[in-house]
Amino acid sequence: MTTVITAASGVLPPAGQSGCTAVGLAALAARDCLATARLAPQSVGALINVGVYREANTFEPAMAALIQKEVGINLDYLANPGPAAFSFDLMNGACGVLNAVQVAQALLETASCDRVLVTAADVHPGGCAGDDPLYPYADLGGALLLERGTQPDRGFGRVRTWSRQGDPAVAGHLETATMGAGGRAVVTVVRDADREERLLEFTASVVADYARAEGLDLARTLVLCGRPAPDFGARLASCLNLDAAQVLASAPPGPSMEGTGEAHTAGPVLGYLQATAAGLPAGTEQLLLVTAGAGLSAACASYRPPLETGDTAL
């Protein structure tokens, strides 16, 4: 059995709108996916939300339940005892989407459900990333609709994960001892000075490990990674002895690309959309999605798109 992306979507906050929410962005991206796939909300069996930063620093319920409500999936089983759905948050910093793919593979493999919707939305708890110069991420949402593939050898390969001992390089938290009554609108993200170097070395190392373990020809692979620095993609290509065009470091779209902040958990969704928007470069057999971040934690998975897909480009 393989797992394929049936639809993908990435959304930015509507221009001029203040007070965006992770639930709103995730629900918008999720609805986009369902529209692209021409599916009703009730066709989703599991919803996994992997966003880390959220409105008002909400910690209960799962943001996934609030997103599920917005999208209209399994609202009340007693009133409408159709197919049930289950939702939950899965968080692992930048690696959430690939961990969710790993979990979705198990849910689909065991016939626990037929479709898994993965949402990845991060917003500043105060509602606007641009208002906090110390907050490094963009307000951004993404979604992937996953289901069982029908074409052999098409879809996701095995998801592999790695950890590195030592300092986490990135840490995000709310200082409740000093937040006063303003804790709904503040968050602290601390990034070590050597973060970019450590993430570069770690990312290169896990890509090489993955290619070796899975027998992947990197020369015929487009690597999709995050963008902790503007030249990260080029430097990763250099580390891996690849052509610069074989590495795509995703960033939120728009004229102020460097000013809006980094894509966080939605990074792999953006990368997938940007890579497939115009078709894969000639000679490319597969994508390799790689994420690395706080922990240090990293994850990798190959993806061979089915011969026809429906994507919603940004």
Partner: protein, 353 residues
């Protein structure tokens, strides 16, 4: 789809309760707007355990989780380095005292400290169904052959919400009223592949009915410094909400041509919201299934509502005390914000506690 017939089982269980006891009477003495109600009579919670704030006690959410994980590993045949996955399910993610953590994941930090560096790791957050969600995912990962074993752990510094409620509460209709019935704790469970029906998770299925997702919301207070939980208790515990479990569970069994009576459960563990809540849910189950419920295992009277750890803390306490026997069939029923319900059926015969 899989043709595998693999199943999972509970291999080891661990729990930790802080030694400090806070009686309901002593808690109420700290509430500024003392409610004009008998909290102990309404909830059945006589006392709860509370964290020691001194750093050396290691009783923030992270420290509590670490203690339960170590206890669980001590009861397991696996060493930390042999774990394939570590899943953390804390709702309250306090580390280093008052730092509420968003990244790195608790699971990453716990796996590093435990020596499970090779393990897949991620946090799940699903309110009081968090550990059940972790067990559900680990069961599926074992059945799919993604992992051979794994640890699900949660440490809950839940009384942080009681502290805010004590300062802000005005009367018994206040949305923070339920925050007075929680307690601190940690629990951890290791699952691996079942090779014997005497130790097997027969099924674990969960459902979220999102219409009611807003009935219980947790976030920092906007009135004083602290985290708070706002619950619409009346709506959360209406008869229709309570009927979600028997309706979902009954349909699940009917698809396989079985009934609740056929299951032969020896014990039932409901979410430990309060003694009367457990009675109401069991009464609803009896009405809907048309059969008596098995003996109900509880700890809420002396632990309070321990959030995501409640079912596994209850299981551990009763197995350890001998008030639940090994070789029995257990039904665990979650009830969580979302709202989440479901059923976990397991026979437990050689579980290390």
């Amino acid at each position: 789809m899989t043709t595998s017939t693999r199943s999972s089982r509970f291999e080891a269980l661990g729990a930790y309760l802080p030694p400090t006891v806070l009686s309901t009477a002593d808690l109420l003495a700290r509430v500024s707007g003392t409610p004009d109600v008998d909290l102990e009579r309404i909830t059945g919670v006589a006392e709860r355990r509370v964290y020691d704030p001194s750093p050396q006690a290691g009783e923030d959410s992270y420290g509590l989780a670490l203690k339960a994980a170590r206890e669980c590993l001590a009861n397991s045949r696996y060493a930390a380095a042999e774990l394939d996955v570590v899943i953390s399910a804390s709702i309250t993610r306090f580390k280093d005292g008052g730092r509420f953590t968003f990244e790195p994941s608790f699971a990453r930090m716990l796996s590093q400290e435990l020596g499970a560096d090779a393990a897949i790791h991620f946090d799940v957050s699903n309110a009081c169904a968090g550990m059940m969600t972790g067990v559900y995912l680990l069961d599926r990962m074992i059945r799919a052959g993604v992992v051979r074993n794994g640890l699900v752990v949660s440490g809950e510094q839940a009384t942080k919400i009681s502290e805010t409620a004590a300062v802000e509460l005005t009367d018994s209709y206040d949305p923070q009223f339920a925050s007075l019935s929680v307690g601190d704790s940690a629990a951890a469970v290791i699952l691996d592949e079942s090779v014997d029906e005497a130790d097997r998770i027969h099924y674990v299925d969960l459902m979220t009915c999102a219409e009611y997702a807003h009935l219980c919301m947790g976030m920092p207070s906007d009135r004083t410094q602290g985290i708070a939980l706002y619950t619409d208790n009346k709506q959360m515990h209406t008869r229709d909400r309570l009927r979600l479990w028997p309706s979902f569970h009954g349909d699940l069994l009917a698809k396989q041509g079985r009934t609740f009576a056929d299951e032969g459960f020896d014990y039932i563990i409901q979410h430990q919201v309060g003694t009367r809540f457990v009675e109401f849910v069991n009464a609803t189950g009896e009405e809907e299934f048309g059969v008596a419920m098995p003996p109900s295992l509880n700890v809420v009277a002396w632990t309070g509502n321990t959030a995501s750890t409640a079912h596994f803390l209850t299981l551990q306490q009763h197995l350890k005390a001998g008030s639940a026997r090994q070789g029995a069939k257990f039904l665990l029923v979650p009830a969580a914000s979302g709202v989440v319900t479901g059923a976990l059926s397991a026979t437990i015969s050689t579980l290390g506690v």
